[in-house]
């Protein structure tokens, strides 16, 4: 193989999606999975992977190699589809009668990272995405083939075929830009109750899905460009002697990058007069800063897809913090593209305190830039569930 060949890592979580048909809310619980298997439910993840890999049919093997664990965690499907792969040494785990676990996912993901993969294609659900995130962080490009039960995370292609298309384009050198996408998961055990609360676990680096680009007649600015402009606007709007509480997320991270000091992607950072004063602040820190400051503003973005503004991944901005800063000092940093993903649904708040949630509900002006604003509805999560 040549030095310049692209290295693709491939990993299947064979039990992903298993819980779905069995009426479970996920497949994290190994004991329950075994029960489902015994009850005759089949593993569907490898079929989803197969669907994805079929997209590569007819693609020359020049210029790329694919690496996978032996057996059902990768090589079997590749063999079935007829894609020659480089099996990892001593990697036969999870034969028919042996169950795989999340430790296996972590183990192989780490091994693939260590081998310097250009992209890791993984097939699974939110739990698998979390494992990949834990093993690979956000430095290695990855792409999720959707095969899980829930899939709240934004690192998955919309369908297995789409994942295949993106992979093909990546191999052909057509997929050259990447973005950070949220990894979200629910606590499966608490799902039996009414409250559904996905948690933000981190970010994965995923190819920008060009396949979903709008057609020419309706083409607008790309989300990337839009976010860039938005961040610059917010930076320019920042007032002197005001404490800024900057929430987590990729949109606000751009703002943080424009300030002096180092900001965090996942954390809440505090800034004033163009400098980051404290990165990854917890509630207590935020409150102690607020005690000293006259003026404060919160800048937050909503989570793509489910539209959560407060209470998901930014609990540090607690009801007390929100009350101290005040509703009128909340600046929403949301791109038009992200809003499109919500359809006609409102943005949601679920701070853990219904009174605060209802206080925050209402109509917000979202400034996209100096010349464009959107009026958008924010609702208490609890009220949204009822309606």
């Amino acid at each position: 193989m040549k030095e310049t060949d692209k290295k693709i890592g491939f990993l299947i979580n064979p039990v992903a999606g298993l819980g779905g048909r069995a009426g479970m809310k996920g497949s994290d619980d190994a004991a329950r999975c075994r029960k489902a298997l015994l009850a005759g439910y089949e593993k569907s993840a490898s079929c989803r992977a197969e669907e994805c890999l079929k997209e590569l049919k007819g693609l020359s093997m020049d210029g790329w190699r694919i690496y996978a664990p032996e057996g059902c965690m990768g090589a079997d499907v590749l063999f079935k589809v007829g894609i020659p792969c480089e099996p990892l040494e001593n990697s036969r785990i999870g034969s028919l009668d042996e169950e795989t676990s999340r430790e296996d996912t972590l183990y192989f993901a780490r091994r693939l990272c260590g081998m310097g993969m250009d992209l890791i294609l993984f097939c699974g659900g939110d739990g698998t995405a979390r494992d990949i995130c834990e093993a690979a962080g956000s430095n290695v490009p990855v792409l999720g083939v959707p095969a899980g039960v829930k899939m709240y995370s934004a690192c998955f292609a919309t369908t297995p075929c789409k994942a295949g298309e993106i992979l093909k384009r990546f191999i052909q050198g057509k997929e050259t830009s990447f973005s950070h996408r949220e990894v979200m998961d629910l606590d499966e055990n608490s799902l039996d109750e009414l409250a559904v609360s996905p948690t933000l676990y981190g970010f994965l680096t995923v190819p920008d899905d060009k396949v979903r680009l709008q057609r020419a007649k309706e083409a607008g600015t790309s989300e990337e460009e839009e976010a860039e402009v938005l961040a610059a606007e917010i930076r320019a709007e920042m007032k002197e002697d005001t404490l800024y509480i900057l929430g987590p997320g990729s949109t606000t991270y751009r703002v943080k990058q424009m300030l002096h000091g180092t900001g965090t992607v996942r954390g809440v950072d505090l800034a004033k007069n163009g400098r980051i004063l404290r990165a990854d602040a917890d509630e207590r820190t935020i409150l102690s800063f607020l005690d000293r400051e006259q003026k404060a503003e919160i800048i937050v973005t909503c989570i793509g897809g489910n539209g959560f503004l407060f209470g998901r991944g930014n609990q540090q901005i607690s009801p007390l913090v929100l009350k101290k800063v005040g509703k009128s000092h909340i600046r929403l940093a949301v791109t038009r593209e992200k809003l499109s993903g919500l359809g006609t649904r409102p943005m949601l708040v679920d701070t853990g305190d219904l009174e605060t949630d209802r206080y925050l509900a209402g109509y917000y002006k979202i400034r996209l830039n100096a010349k464009e604003e959107i009026i958008y509805r924010v609702q208490a999560g609890a009220d949204a569930l009822l309606s």
């Binding site: 369908t159 020419a216 607008g220 809003l339 499109s340 009026i375 509805r377």
Partner: protein, 513 residues
């Protein structure tokens, strides 16, 4: 009854024709220009000497050198590679109002009287066309309920632009020009509205629909202020959902001191049934090539009508066409006017067609346009929504007017086949590709059909049958749909980036090279 075909085995001509710049041979000519008579040359000198030095090209332009037959063949081939409204059932191109344009109109506009019309002619020699324009204005006043109409705009968005200019003139005259710097619109109104507003320096505030598919009235209340210059809104929007609260919208904005502008580019759902002025609007505009019938969409020029209330009449684009009891004339003496929009006055061919259309239909006929459009649409929707995987989001159970925004999301989730795939595949069935949505797509995997009044039940049935067949293909052979088109003039898919990324555009041959 029901002679529609579902087995046409359509295949478009495919010539893989080179670009004309690549054709021809050096020295080949279509027309041989005779040499000037010797005596002429002697008295005037040669052509080269007659031309001022600064005007002469250093190198001759690189034009294709071709004979007549080869030129004709080239364009005949290209003409076979298009699908226009006259050859297919063009229901898919929603919001565009692709109705039948009566062919008798083409005889009118190809008559010598119109063909040889020249903008520099003296008014006394163009009384006929001025009368048509004047009369058309009277009809449009009756249709809109407004008091003054300008037929100068070359198209719909220029009419919108004129309306925004009028907004500005109105507030400036009241000393509020600086303060009133915000225009409110909705995400499902035509992008031409925020576009024109932004072009003229206004800040744009956009409202989103609630689950009923109409812009939220509470959001509007949160948007209006002493900065509000105007509300620019479409009703029904692309979704075909009638906004019953439209009068309330108008009142809220008026109360805040703003004007209300009704985008009626496509009038088909309300033609002859309701009038913009009756709903309290101060202005509206029509795309005359749409509801008033002219071949359009790469097939001919458009025209716009700017319609305004009595109070705003003095601001319309100048010149206006007036009648003094004896003769028709162009009135340039309008000191408050927003000025000229374009060279000369309007697009006479489209204005004549619109005039003929109104005259031939009369008030009852016009009302029937709306009634039939709505009936056709709801018949089509009933049939289309029987297709598994196609749904109509928002305002469940509510009838649509002349068009609807549907969603293939369920089919996409199930099969991976997207609206863009289906849009390419429909061409294999002998239909023009359809309109998905204006940007941004707040409805996932959108599809916006509009079966205007001129399509028959059989046409609609054939249209629906094709989509039903494609939905089945998506389940049985998704690859077939995803790799479409297979039977179109273009044998392969166009890479999206050539259509969406301006860095990749080639607008001239030289740029392409």
């Amino acid at each position: 009854m029901g002679y529609y075909k579902t087995d046409r085995d359509f295949h478009e001509a495919r010539w893989d024709e080179p670009i004309i710049m690549e054709l021809g041979n050096p020295g080949e000519r279509g027309v041989m220009v005779p040499k000037a008579d010797k005596r002429v040359v002697e008295s005037t000198g040669s052509v080269e000497e007659l031309l001022p030095k600064g005007l002469k090209r250093k190198k001759p332009p690189k034009l294709p050198e071709m004979s007549q037959m080869q030129v004709l063949r080239h364009y005949m081939r290209l003409s076979q590679e298009t699908i226009g409204t006259d050859i297919n059932i063009d229901i898919g191109l929603g919001t565009c109002t692709m109705k039948y344009s009566p062919k008798i109109h083409e005889q009118f506009i190809r008559s010598d009287k119109l063909k040889e019309l020249h903008p520099y002619q003296d008014e006394s020699t163009v009384q006929g066309i001025l009368e048509i324009i004047y009369q058309l204005e009277q009809y449009l006043k009756a249709i809109s309920g407004m008091s003054k109409v300008s037929l100068q705009p070359s198209g719909g968005t220029q009419a919108i632009f004129a309306n925004v200019e009028t907004i500005r003139a109105y507030h400036e005259a009241r000393g509020e020009g600086e303060k009133r710097n915000e225009i409110i619109t909705t995400i499902l109104s035509h992008p031409g509205n925020p576009g024109a507003a932004a072009t003229l320096g206004y800040k744009v505030i956009t409202l989103y629909p609630d689950e009923n598919g109409i812009p939220d009235i509470e959001a509007l209340k949160a948007a209006v202020s002493e900065h509000t210059a105007a509300l620019m809104i479409t009703n029904p929007e692309d979704t075909g959902i009638y906004n019953e609260k439209i009068r309330q919208f108008v009142d809220i904005v008026h109360e805040a001191g703003g004007l209300c502008v009704y985008d009626q580019a496509n009038l088909n759902g309300l033609f002859g049934i309701t009038r913009a002025r009756d709903a309290g609007f101060d202005m509206c505009h029509y795309n005359l090539h749409k509801s008033f019938s002219s071949p359009h969409g790469c097939q001919g020029p458009g025209a716009g009508a700017q319609c305004v209330s009595e109070e705003l009449a003095k601001y319309v684009a100048a010149p206006t066409v007036e009648f003094d009891g004896e003769k028709y004339y162009l009135d340039d003496n309008r000191p408050d006017s927003i000025g000229k929009l374009r060279k000369y006055y309007g697009v006479p061919a489209v204005l004549v067609r619109a005039y003929a259309y109104i005259r031939s239909l009369g008030p009852d006929g016009i009302k029937q346009i709306a009634e039939l459009s709505i009936l056709n649409n709801n018949y089509m929707l009933k049939k289309l929504l029987e297709i598994d995987g196609l749904s109509m989001p928002m305002a469940e159970g509510k009838y649509r007017l002349e068009q609807a925004r549907l969603s293939w999301k369920e089919l996409t989730d199930e099969t991976g086949v997207t609206t863009d795939d289906i849009c390419r595949r429909i061409v294999d069935y002998g239909f023009q590709d359809y309109f998905a949505s204006h940007h941004p797509r707040i409805i996932p995997e959108p599809f916006t059909p509009e079966p205007v009044e001129t399509y028959s039940k059989d046409d609609i049935d054939e249209f629906v049958a094709a989509f039903k067949a494609i939905a089945e293909e998506a389940r049985n052979d998704p690859e077939l749909v995803k790799t479409a088109p297979h039977k179109a003039a273009l044998g392969s898919q166009i890479q999206e980036e050539y259509l969406t990324e301006w860095e990749n555009f080639a607008t001239t041959w030289r740029a392409f090279r």
